[in-house]
Amino acid sequence: MIGATNALLAIDVGWGTTLALKTLIILMIVPLTALILGYVFLLKMMSHMQSRLGPMDPGGFHGWFQLVGDGIKFIQKEDIMPGEADRRVFALAPVVVVVSTFLVFVVIPAGPDLVVKNLDVGVFYALAVSSLSVIGVLMAGWASANKFSLIGALRAAAQLIAYELPLLLAVVGVVIQAGTMSLQGIVLAQHNGEIFGWSGIGFPFIITQFIGFGLFLVASQAELTQTPFDMPVAESELVAGYMVEYTGFRFLFFFIGEFGTAFAFAAIAATLFLGGWTLPGIDNIGVMRLLGPGVLFIKIMFVAFLMFWVRFTYPRLREDQLQSLAWKVLIPLGLLNILATATLKVAF
């Protein structure tokens, strides 16, 4: 059985076919993951937590039709562009946001071979392209010719600058431990590692890098502009921040970008701290080719659950409180974590 699947998965196809397949998968993955997160967390988990009845109703069982209905609604809506808007920039902004999400998925490994491009600087690349989205946000805010949008966009930019640093510092500890920046290499380092000679569960870096994991979650929450840090969209203050002038399909793009990026960050966290696509105790590559994506998906959903749980529970910080949290707490903590990791790495 395993041999057969091995043979099946090892079919040699030309590079053109491979490239086409990879492109297709990447193009599919962002809307698909956005839908999954939107359905599981935004509609189902939020409805349960907030005792909302609306999203539980359409379509009969558990409101399965709600998301489809939402999609139809977005596509039906009129595409409005403000008269004062910078038309080309306005139209381009949602695309920039979504493209940055697409680019992150390029380096995330979902199996022994299932990775579009195993870059040597994978971690660096993933974090770099994920922050491209702020350019789209700034474009949207500026081009909308709306003061609320402008305030939202500038808040987003300030927030991103402040939280890019803790995000990177949180990851540096993992890179030091693994000795590589390639995401595939980090996954394998966790799988092949051992805790004081016991290799039962490998060595997921969350055991030593729990501070890094916490920092990463907090900082990625800020990068995603999710609730404790959602000032750029701040519904009660800025109505919808940089998205305020967007309707219909363009708004859907932002929506997909938001949830796709949430999935991407959860995937990075699962890969860096939870062992990625590997399962402890299974060394057979053939089996992991089959199970890998599923294992990674479950880990991603766990991380995403933590993110959305916080999102639905906490109030919003103020802009200055957010900055002082980043510069006075998270960054010193990240530096200390790196110092400790490096010291222990040399000591052992």
Binding site: I151, P228, T313
Partner: protein, 398 residues
């Protein structure tokens, strides 16, 4: 190094330059202080933080508010004028819609004023039922506030809890009066009907739900670090200034002023029979206003339970002529409504309707402190302060 070593600045070629471009050139020149203009931001009349159609024009320097100017009147419905063309029983329908969240509490002072002019005393059972329903509408209003405040600070979940828990109270009001929002239940000389069978027991159980809901809000909202960071020492109203602006109700009690018309005013309804505490908080900030309303919700639930124990039996209507004509005279009645001090000045010339009615609504005075209160805060705090003042647009504009 002598000054001659510095390369000379190339002279601008003598060409015609658009004056608009010149402005940018001046900005770009080194050493020129960049002139950052103030931004005028129009919050409202369609803005989620203003609960309706309040419009606040704020002048911003970055995110800091330099000046705030509330503009009211988008919901003016002319109720004071309309009362001159209605009979007394018809007017309760209008004044139900002033503060639509606690409609029943609006009716009470007007009916009490008419009764005083006519010299009619409502029977004790009617007064008890009025008081219970007034306190229930207070609980309903405050439960919504406790959730909504969370929403304005950015937490979505408490808002839904607020609406959900208020639903229990609205069911009770509907059970007794037939109307969820606009009961129109008070009559001159009593109330329309007696309580339905089983209502008292149901109210007892619902009050337990209210206590539970208050505990949830205390944990989920008031006990949250971020909520405290957002509301503590934000929007402080000094007691003297608040009183000078006419701020009343929970907003003033949160500034440490121990003043409650239910206890300190001219006695009305059955409050003298009740044993209750007036909650105050020394801080006067947004958090204090939240805390005071939280405690007052609990206190109101305790008062309802107390009244259910003491409820007398007997008639619910006094003897009233079929056609109500109020003798000539003037009367001022004020009550402690959920939003603050509410008063009616009724002038009667002996007709079936009043000659003139002046309505003193709480939110109008509460909002009047906004220009002073908002100056110097951040945009994010504007929303918190607006939410914590808790006004109803219908109560401002009438």
């Amino acid at each position: 190094m002598s000054t001659t070593d510095i390369p000379s600045v190339p002279v601008m070629p003598d060409i015609q330059i658009d004056p608009r471009a010149l402005r940018h050139l001046a900005d770009a020149a080194i050493g020129v202080e960049l002139d950052t203009g103030d931004m005028i931001l129009n919050l409202g009349p369609q803005h989620p933080a203003t609960h309706g159609t309040l419009r606040i024009v704020v002048r911003l320097d970055g995110e800091r508010v330099l000046a705030a100017d509330p503009i009211i009147g988008y919901m003016h419905r002319g109720y004071e004028k309309l009362t001159e063309f209605r009979t007394y029983p018809q007017i309760t329908t209008l004044i139900n819609r002033i503060d639509w969240l606690s409609s029943f509490a609006n009716e009470v002072p007007f009916i009490a004023g008419a009764e005083q002019l006519m010299g009619i005393e409502a029977p004790p059972r009617a007064l008890y039922i009025r008081t219970i329903l007034t306190e229930l509408s207070r609980i309903a209003t405050f439960l919504l506030f406790l959730g909504e405040m969370g929403l304005q600070v950015g937490a979505l979940t408490p808002a839904f809890y607020g609406f959900r828990d208020r639903e229990h109270i609205l069911n009770l009001i509907e059970g007794a009066t037939g109307g969820r929002f606009h009961p129109n239940f008070n009559r001159i000389g009593g109330i329309k009907e007696d309580l339905p069978w089983g209502w008292i027991n149901e109210t007892r159980t619902t009050m337990k739900t209210v206590f539970d809901a208050c505990d949830v809000f205390e944990d989920l909202v008031a006990g949250n670090e971020i909520f405290e960071a957002r509301t503590r020492s934000i929007g402080i109203i000094p007691p003297e200034l608040g009183a000078a602006y006419g701020v009343s109700g929970s907003n003033l009690r949160a500034s440490g002023v121990d003043w409650d018309l239910r206890r300190d005013g001219k006695q009305y309804l059955v409050y003298p029979d009740l044993d209750f505490k007036v909650w105050t908080h020394p801080d006067g900030d947004s958090f204090a206003r939240y805390w005071v309303r939280l405690e007052e919700t609990r206190e109101s639930a305790r008062m309802v339970l107390q009244m259910l124990e003491q409820m007398p039996s007997g008639p619910i209507m006094a003897k009233v002529p079929r056609i109500i004509k109020v003798p000539a005279g003037e009367v001022w009645v004020e009550t402690e409504n959920p939003l603050g001090q509410m008063g009616y000045y009724i002038v009667s010339k002996g007709a079936t309707g009043p000659f003139r009615v002046k309505i003193r609504s709480a939110s109008f005075s509460n909002v009047s402190i906004l220009p002073w209160l908002l100056t110097g805060t951040f945009v994010a705090d504007v929303v918190t302060i607006l939410a914590s003042l808790y006004f109803i647009l219908g109560d401002i504009d009438r």
